[in-house]
Subunit: 206 residues, 2 copies
């Protein structure tokens, strides 16, 4: 790196920290830092406070392990949600995405990752024990796997399945197939193959 690249150590420090964020390179980080410099000091203060507050004050729901400001998250605490159906997801982001479809009325369980020996993630690093406990205490009827279609995701599904196969619970997984609105020619082979294998009865309506 050119000695001059940053005329100020303070600026350099800010650029280096901002550039640690995912998909933000040094050029973007510099642009963001210069933008912050242009704003009122209140903006820098608010942004700075929001970041540290986020890490220091946020809680995780004691039931489903998603982000929450309270001990029990809004979904788990909502009496209208069906607590007998649990959707198992990898991360908090997946909860956001599924909630935005407005199709799911059950509750979630955030594993906090998937089993991956290569990355050193073992079942003990995830919230699997807590899931098994919930299934028993809440007398759950259905568990829906919404994990990534990868070796790690499949391994995690199978691991959990082996632990619950003797319990009286229906185990399902998300349908995989051609995306709604997508042309067949732009669909990858694996997805197309899966959508043929898992074809469903044509009901005549959309």
């Amino acid at each position: 790196m050119n000695q001059y690249e940053y005329p100020s150590k303070i600026l350099e420090q800010a650029v280096l920290e901002i550039a640690k964020l995912p998909s933000i390179g040094k050029k973007t980080a510099l642009r963001l830092a210069l933008h912050i410099l242009k704003q009122d000091v209140e903006y820098a203060q608010k942004l700075s406070d929001a970041i540290i507050h986020l890490k220091q004050s946020i809680q995780f729901c004691r039931e489903c392990h998603t982000i929450s400001d309270t001990e029990l998250c809004d979904i788990c605490a909502n009496p209208k949600r069906d607590t007998s159906v649990v959707c198992v997801v990898e991360s908090i982001k997946d909860v956001f995405v599924i909630e935005q479809t407005h199709q799911f009325k059950g509750v979630y369980h955030v594993l906090g990752g998937v089993i991956s020996p290569i990355d050193g993630v073992s079942p003990q690093d995830l919230t699997i024990e807590s899931l098994l406990e919930r299934i028993t205490t809440h007398a759950m009827k259905e568990i829906i796997f919404a994990l990534p279609v990868t070796i790690e995701g499949d391994t995690t599904c199978f691991y959990i399945y082996k632990k619950i196969q003797d319990k009286p619970i229906v185990v399902t997984m998300l349908a995989r197939g051609v995306a709604v609105g997508n042309e067949l020619e732009y669909t990858d082979e694996a997805t197309l193959a899966r959508s043929i294998k898992d074809r469903v009865a044509y009901s005549g309506s959309k």
Copy 2:
């Protein structure tokens, strides 16, 4: 916005503040916030400190108005730089870009913008007075305009030019033309026209 979209007010606050940064939408802001949540608390602390430190502690060079940790920036303080040649730029970013070419051995003057009646930027909002003072006190020989080729940029050049035209100083501007390595067919007409008008003697070497 969906009531559920943010399960936590703390998260929402962080997303809203991060999304105020340029070219960062709410989806990206959420991704960044969740990334910060996954890291150690030290990272959030360092990022938060760097942002507020940036705004609170940074100084601007008393000569050229670029960012600096000291009263006089590294460029203005460098005895190897030719203080009789000043390159006038719109913003601090331009200093970075020109420095990276390693072609310029003079000093800079950051205007902090260009004259723009529409945006309410008048000559008094810029560091033009300070530039005129520098030209006189340092007995400058050449002023190079490196401002954007826009009505505002041209207006600013002309405004400064009128103020210094009686002084014994050479006034130049950056050459505009076909970018190095660019094909003619992909060059816009205005640039091509400019590069024909400003054609230079062929020296036989690259």
